[in-house]
């Protein structure tokens, strides 16, 4: 009896723990179907209306904020992924002076609380007299995404088999050709993962955005501002849709990489 209890304790706990993590997600999803008026606090009945007319509320303020977040996330992701991937390749493949200083510079943004990063940039923009708008948000997001890109891509570069590049050189590929046709394609999964991480970080960032956004509203900022007077169910709709989309992307990636591993194992 005692043994079987011990054997079940951990799986049951883990299942309950994961269930607990899902609670606010389920709540947000369920309340996206609430036939609510201005605020979305009490349950007033089921409706598909909010899903069908997402942009109808407040002259489309929710959708505008969402669109801003998409633009900012995309631009910041491209900038951070390019610069971060270049750094990752340099760190793994080359020797250079100031190596530990470089590592420290890459590590510090991840160890600094967001409120300090946000206030610091805002203080700099203030003293330079730069007006805060979409550009300043993008500059801020790119900054905190770079380190995460470096960490993600670096792992991939380090695990590359140097024999593949040697084979390319043995076949008289120039260093540019080897890089473009051997190295880069092999790095794509790592770069893609880094880009997804950057986009997710940028899309959900509130604290740094709040300090550097001026009058521009992003999706998280919209929620923060509306929290006092009530958040329309349309915000839940957008968040739920993003959630489902991200879940599908991640599960598809998992399944396809599992399938590829299986195929590779079979082909030996």
């Amino acid at each position: 009896m005692k043994i079987s209890l011990g054997r079940w304790l951990l799986p049951v706990y883990s299942a309950l723990a994961l269930l607990f993590l899902m609670v606010p997600i389920a709540y947000t999803f369920v309340f996206s179907f609430n036939d609510s008026l201005k605020s979305n606090i009490t349950w007033r009945g089921f409706t598909f209306d909010k899903w069908l007319n997402v942009c109808a509320v407040q002259n489309g303020a929710v959708c505008e904020a969402f669109g801003n977040s998409l633009v900012i996330g995309s631009v910041a992701t491209v900038l951070a992924t390019v610069m971060g991937t270049m750094i990752a390749i340099a760190i793994v493949r080359y020797r250079f002076r100031f190596r530990s200083a470089t590592s420290l510079l890459l590590f510090l943004p991840m160890a600094t609380p967001e409120v300090v990063l946000g206030a610091g940039l805002a203080a700099q923009f203030l003293s330079l007299g730069v007006a805060k708008d979409m550009t300043t948000i993008i500059l801020a997001h790119t900054m905190f995404c770079i380190s995460f890109v470096v960490v993600t891509v670096k792992a991939r570069v380090a695990s590359l088999d140097p024999a593949l590049e040697e084979a390319g050189r043995d076949l008289y590929g120039s260093s540019t050709q080897v890089f473009l046709r051997v190295t880069l394609p092999l790095l794509v999964p790592g770069i893609l993962a880094a880009a997804l991480l950057s986009f997710a970080l940028s899309f959900d960032d509130f604290i740094i955005t709040n300090f550097n956004s001026g009058a521009v509203t992003t999706f998280p900022k919209y929620i923060y501002i509306s929290a006092a007077r009530g958040i329309p169910a349309e915000a839940n709709v957008i968040a739920s849709a993003v959630f489902i989309f991200a879940l599908v992307v991640v599960v598809t990636a998992q399944v396809s990489s599992a399938a590829r591993a299986k195929r590779l194992a079979r082909e030996g």
């Binding site: 706990y13 723990a17 993590l21 606010p24 997600i25 760190i91 080359y94 609380p113 940039l121």
Partner: protein, 304 residues
Amino acid sequence: MAFAAFSSTTAQADPAPRRRSRVALLLLLPGILYLVLFFLTPLVSLLITSFQAPAEFGDIGQYTYAFNWQNYVDVVTDYWPHIVRSFVFALAATVLALLFSYPLAYFIGVTARRWPLLQSLMLVLVIAPFFISFLLRTLAWKQLLSDESFVVTSLKAVSLLAPDAHLTGTPIAVIFGLTYNFIPFMTLPLYTTLERLDLRYLEAASDLYAHPFEVFRKVTIPLSMPGIVAGTLLTFIPAAGDYVNASRDFLGGPDSQMIGNVIEANFLVLLNYPAAAALSIILMSVILVIVGIYVKRAGTEELL
């Protein structure tokens, strides 16, 4: 995980020693320059701002360059409860997240090893909260812990909560929110180390007649130390600087405001930039000192 990733490449055999350092420079330059301009110099501006004094005939929000030490004295006397509270809340949330995450990470990383599909599915569920807005998650808890909610009414029914007590707006709710929001940051690094845990060490300890509890305390925990260090740092640092959970529109109340709330209020509402900057510098310095001591004590050199 993130911290360990910066380690040990120097120890590896160099595939291209001292080769074409000009290429390395070109690869590094844009990103490093970017971080210098938008990470390092802002910290310097913050430091300069923290010493500024109000302009003599200026409006609210106008300051001149000065060396006004008094700013630091002022913010510490005005806001010492917020500063202390931030670190206490962050510590509590870190300990709770560790206690919550360790068994879960152990199950995913060790017990579920035989079923890779279950393993990856559970990992997706651990990171699933990241896919939905951090602020909406926190607001969902605000509703779920409100006075009319099932949680509060049942706690009152079994007398665990006084009839006139609330959950939202209290330090308990803020610590709860911080814990919930940073659990994935704790679970993932723990999982990464536990997944690589060599079970033969545990078997060896049992073979030597160690009690399961002793095996856990003397073998499993020390071997998972890198994950514990990375997880606690990834939880503690953002938790100490967070101001969403403690915000009055979210889970906080007047007695649960943290340093982040005061920095936000001073910078964006009161336009008292020097005070906000001084508080930020204090927050950053305390965190760097704590991280430094902690990493030294925990004996892992993997941080850099």
